[in-house]
Amino acid sequence: MSAQSMLALRYAQAFLNVYASTINHDDFLNMVALYNHLLQDDQTLIILSSYKLSEAATETSVDMLIKKFKLVPAFKNLLRILLEKKRIMLFLDVLKFIIWQYQLKQQVLYFEIESAGHLEQSSLQTIKNFLKKLSGNDIIYTYKVNESLIAGVRAKNAYFLWEDSIKSRLQRIKLLTGPGV
C-alpha cells in the first residue's frame, strides 16, 4: 500500500471511529453514489483544491456537494480538514476506504444488483435475503436494469459475484467451445 493510501486509510478509520454510528444504509448508498460520481468526473475535487477559490466560495461548494448527494453533515468536517491540510485530492481514496471500512465495521455488504428486465420488490427482497444467507452479513444494494444480460440477474460487490444470466452462459460457451480452445 502506498504512503498516500495509508494516509487515506487513517483518515477513513478516524472518520468512522467518530461518525460510523450516525451513518445509516441510505447515507451509505449516498456515499457510494458520490464515489461513483467522483470516479467518473474528478473536476469537483480539482475545483475545490484550487487556490483561487475564496474561503466563502469553498464553503459554499462543500455545502452544495453535501446537499446534492445528501451526505451526513460529518462529511463537512472531513472535507474542511482535508482542505485545511491541502489534501483534498485524497478525498476519493478516503471515501473508498470509508465505504470498505464501513462494511467491515457494520457487518454489511454492498451489492450492485442488475437484471435484464424490471424486478418486482418481492424478487429484490428474495435476492437480498439469499445474499444475506450466503454471506452472513446484512445487505445494502442498489438496483438497475442491464439489458446486456439478455435474461437473468447479476449481484456483485468488491469481493463477490453471483450471476445467473444468459450473457454469462453464452460467455461460458464461447470460452469452453469457441475457436481457439
Binding site: 437484471s115 428486465g117 435475503n129 439469499f130 439489458e147 437473468g152 440477474v153 444470466s165 444468459i166 467451445t177
Partner: protein, 163 residues
C-alpha cells in the same frame, strides 16, 4: 755400258734416296707435327663429344627416372581426382536428396497448415455466425426469457432460503 747403267741406276737410286730423305725430313719437320696436332685436336674433340654424350646420356636416364616418378604422381593424382569426383558426386546426390526431401516436407507442412488454417477459419466463422445468431434470437426472446429466468431464480433462492 753396263757401268753407265750402273751409274744411272745408282743415281736413280741416289735420287730416290735423296727424295726419300727429303720427304722424310719434310714429313718429320712439318707434316708429322701438323698431323699430330690435328690428331690431338680430333681426339680432344672426340673426348669432349664423348663426355657430352655421357652427360646427355645420364641426363636422359635422370629424365626417364623423373618421367617415371612424374607418371606415378600423375597416376596418384588422377586416382585422387577420381575419388574426389566420386565423393563430390555422392555429396551432390545427398544434397539433392536432402533438398528434395526438404521440399516434400515443406509442401506437406504447407498443405497441413493451409488445411488447418482453412479449417480453423471455417470453424471460427461458423462458430461466430452461429453464436451471433443464437445471441440475436435470445435477445429477441429476452422478455419471455427474463420472466422464465426470474421464476427459476426466485424458486431456486426461495428453496435455498428454506433449506
Amino acid at each position: 755400258m753396263s757401268d753407265i747403267n750402273f751409274v744411272l741406276i745408282f743415281f736413280k737410286f741416289a735420287n730416290f734416296a735423296i727424295l726419300g730423305l727429303f720427304l722424310a725430313y719434310l714429313t718429320k719437320k712439318y707434316i708429322a707435327p701438323a698431323l699430330k696436332e690435328s690428331l690431338y685436336a680430333f681426339v680432344s674433340v672426340y673426348y669432349n663429344l664423348q663426355n657430352q654424350y655421357n652427360i646427355s646420356l645420364k641426363k636422359v636416364e635422370q629424365l626417364e627416372k623423373d618421367l617415371v616418378v612424374q607418371a606415378a604422381l600423375i597416376e596418384d593424382l588422377q586416382s585422387k581426382v577420381q575419388q574426389w569426383q566420386e565423393v563430390d558426386k555422392q555429396h551432390q546426390l545427398a544434397c539433392k536428396r536432402h533438398y528434395e526431401n526438404a521440399i516434400v516436407s515443406l509442401n506437406k507442412k504447407r498443405l497441413i497448415q493451409s488445411e488447418y488454417l482453412s479449417e480453423s477459419k471455417v470453424k471460427t466463422e461458423l462458430f461466430n455466425e452461429i453464436f451471433n445468431e443464437v445471441e440475436t434470437t435470445l435477445k429477441n426472446e429476452a422478455p419471455d426469457l427474463q420472466k422464465d429466468y426470474i421464476k427459476r431464480i426466485d424458486a431456486f433462492m426461495t428453496h435455498e432460503l428454506q433449506s
